[in-house]
Symmetry: C2
Subunit: 198 residues, 2 copies
């Protein structure tokens, strides 16, 4: 919740963070390319020129949001890898990913929908690919230790499980009836034990 600081005086005004947050929401609702700066200004009740006072370009807004999403995911994985056993690294990694997806939902949504349409988008996709490879390596290790079934390719396994996790951004709603911790448990349950009753 913590915005950097309260608006000082004079006109209502917006902080950089507030503007960014609104922009990311609009990007997700309409798509980044389909969103004009006029759309953003309209949503904030400002003019385009006023917005350009806060930011250099529309793309800068995208860049900041993507950095937040990637930083969150990388940080969660870093923390998970500090555990000593592969089993813990795996379950904490999945749990951490679900936490980041729900806590920074808007930013991650933007990341997951990138098409690599500019230098900034390409750089973010490359960074995401590196993250995916770290996770796939972890899954391979878990298979080697007999923690996960190895009759399905590690790459396919990773993609299916992260497909499940990533899809959360499409329907999760903050303040809704689903608690992030509980959701993380359910994801782990489905991924590890499946839907068939034992």
């Amino acid at each position: 919740m913590a915005t950097t600081r309260a608006p000082r005086r004079g006109r209502p005004g917006y902080t950089r963070d507030q503007v960014l947050q609104v922009a990311v929401d609009v990007f997700n609702q309409q798509g980044y390319d389909a969103t004009s700066v006029a759309d953003l200004a309209g949503r904030l009740g400002l003019t385009k020129s006023a917005l350009y006072h806060h930011f250099d370009s529309k793309e800068q807004l995208l860049e900041l949001a993507l950095d937040s999403a990637l930083g969150g995911l990388e940080g969660a994985l870093d923390e998970a890898m500090q555990h000593s056993t592969v089993a813990e690294q795996l379950s904490e990694g999945i749990r951490g990913a679900v936490q980041v997806l729900t806590a920074r939902q808007a930013e991650v949504t933007l990341l997951l929908r990138l098409r690599g349409n500019s230098a900034i988008e390409l750089a973010a996709l490359q960074r995401r690919r590196t993250f995916d490879q770290r996770v796939a390596a972890l899954v391979r290790q878990a298979q080697a230790e007999g923690l996960l079934r190895d009759d399905i390719d590690a790459g396919t396994t990773t993609r299916l499980v992260f497909g499940m996790i990533n899809s959360i951004v499409e329907w999760y709603r903050t303040g809704g009836s689903i608690d992030p911790d509980r959701l993380a448990d359910e994801v782990l349950t489905v991924a590890l034990d499946g839907l068939r009753p034992r």
Copy 2:
């Protein structure tokens, strides 16, 4: 593979289907909104005007692609529901969805990335929502019959499993090392039995 008919004579020319196929590919690479008609023309080696000879508008291309994707998914579910037991309906439904996703990958990719940014997109999203509800009802029935665990909400279950299935369009490549039938089996295995070795 079957294009409606071979180009007749004269200039090289394109059939409507060929133009559509290329357009959908470009839409997926760059995003629909970020793709200009000039981009499409350039990819085909034509001018914009030549393209408008084949189609009325850029949005018409989108509409045709979305109809193909939705028709495929609905048809697969219709077929699955003809089976007599809920267990068969469920497994055939999942199998059918994977088949459609791999066979009409480009069109489904477009569908899954929609933001509801126009009347056509809104109509497609509504049609997709109806499809989702049919699947959720099937999952609920399977839970009631004890075929699926019921300690996780039917809606959440449906979303997680379809999140896994839908993510296939992001990485599956026709002609790659993965056979669609085998992939469908693996999805069913992960969804029903999970990743933990038994």
